[in-house]
């Protein structure tokens, strides 16, 4: 399979990546190669093998429900571009 230019643009938009038109063909080729590799792997016989959700064959450790973090708002907001009334300010977005 080979991805179309439109598909590459859509993927870039979903990831909010700005790409140049002249690079699209190269991305299409690289991404298509990856997908083709997946297709190849898909041909392997995996009967009787449980799918893994993580490369490490371990289970999630659980944390006790305790409040361990204190208020560090000032420190965090010192590195934010714009703050007011304790809020982080961002360009206006209305859903």
């Amino acid at each position: 399979m080979f991805l179309t230019a439109d598909e590459v643009k859509k993927i870039a938009h979903l990831a909010r990546l700005k790409i140049n038109d002249q690079d699209i063909h190269g991305y299409a080729k690289d991404l298509s190669d990856m997908l083709n590799l997946m297709t190849q792997m898909g041909a392997l016989n995996t009967e009787g093998i449980n799918p893994m959700a993580h490369p490490m064959d371990q289970e999630q450790r659980l944390r006790p429900d305790e409040v361990t973090e204190c208020d560090n708002r000032e420190k965090f907001q010192a590195i934010a571009p714009q703050v007011e009334a304790g809020l982080y300010l961002v360009p206006k977005v209305i859903d």
Partner: protein, 486 residues
Amino acid sequence: MNEQWETVIGLEIHTQLATKSKIFSGAATAYGAAPNTQACAVDLGLPGVLPVLNKEAVRMAVKFGMAIEAEIAPYSVFARKNYFYPDLPKGYQISQFELPIVGAGHLDIEIDGTSKRIGITRAHLEEDAGKSLHENFHGLTGIDLNRAGTPLLEIVSEPDMRSAKEAVAYMKKLHELVRYLGISDGNMQEGSFRCDANVSVRPKGQKQFGTRAEIKNINSFKFVEKAINYEIDRQIELIESGGKMIQETRLYDSVKDETRSMRSKEEANDYRYFPDPDLLPVVVNEEFKAQVKSTLPELPHARKQRFKQQYLLDEESAALLTSSRQLADYFEAVIKESGCEARLCANWVTGDLSAALNKAGLDIIDTPVSHERLAGLLVRIADNSISGKIAKQVFEEMWKNAATADEIIAAKGLRQISDTGAIETIIDKIIAENPDQVEQYRSGKDKVFGFFVGQVMKEMHGKANPGEVNKMLKAKLADSHLKTKG
């Protein structure tokens, strides 16, 4: 509603779990803190941080699963749901997709006296996003991330509901259940219990579902009913006038009582879920399940059935008393403390007490009249120290101060007079003073009896034992009847 059309509704309910700390960080979840004072590096999505799962959130999800008789996944996986929005700092929400912690279960609702089973497809754990404040920041948006990372259980129903009424009944039942289990405070004003409704219509008899609209973020029972009903009418009207439904997300405007399309984003549903590499699979073993099971309370439905059998209550009272765990506990505590008949206790808890709580806008946990004090009052009704009417007076006093019923009865001299001598004197006096009424009674006007009771009670300031008054009056009037005849 239109007879040719059938409505199909499925609900997705987000319920905030009542943990102290967040699902993946040790920041507090308390409501109402100053903006961003409960948002730590993990919640802000700063580089290099790692999420660590809160055990209590897992326990609560498992507890819920057991209550709806669902399969609990022995192995479940967290996934990233990718989308961009300023109140989602990481650019993805940690949720569950393919392997949720709670599998298929069910909840029974009651509609007009008949029971209907609503399927629950799944329930999964996820983190909440922050809040965007759009007002008045020089054209900018303010972001508060205190809520980011708060644990949510998203409960997805099957499309089993056929009317707005059924949807509300299901939502109420679920709301009652999560509070019973103690896994959520269910506070709808604070957004602890929010609902998205998937609504579609199809011609009656058609198997295939119609195209659905999803109504987002409805936060009250009333609005759920109104939003769904508006949407049903809109869809039927659209299709009947030759239009075509499009699958879309809509918002309910409670002021205008209508739903309207949200600005359509063509890629909105392209979330590109994939397993979160920062989190390992969650394993729930038998030991964990057994431990959670030992903490399961008696569930509302079972408790209601028990109340009906053990206390011989009617359906309505039993349902009312078990509508919250605290109310049911209070009721049983009153019975235990007073040793009075369940019927009397039920009448007072669902009657005067509930009315006073409603009037004051209080929940049972904040009742100024403790179960001990109410029990004290009921004991005095049961042993005939006071009449039901006087008891209401005593209750009003108890509501206002901390005195016991006995203290109030003593202080106000409200003890009922059962002394037959005292009652007899008054009865004789009333009979002597009202020869006309005696005449009427004698000629068969039974209604006049009430007049005599009223007069005696008035004379004795309501404190006479009504049973005693009735009995003696009857005897006396019969007696005077004979006398006059003779």
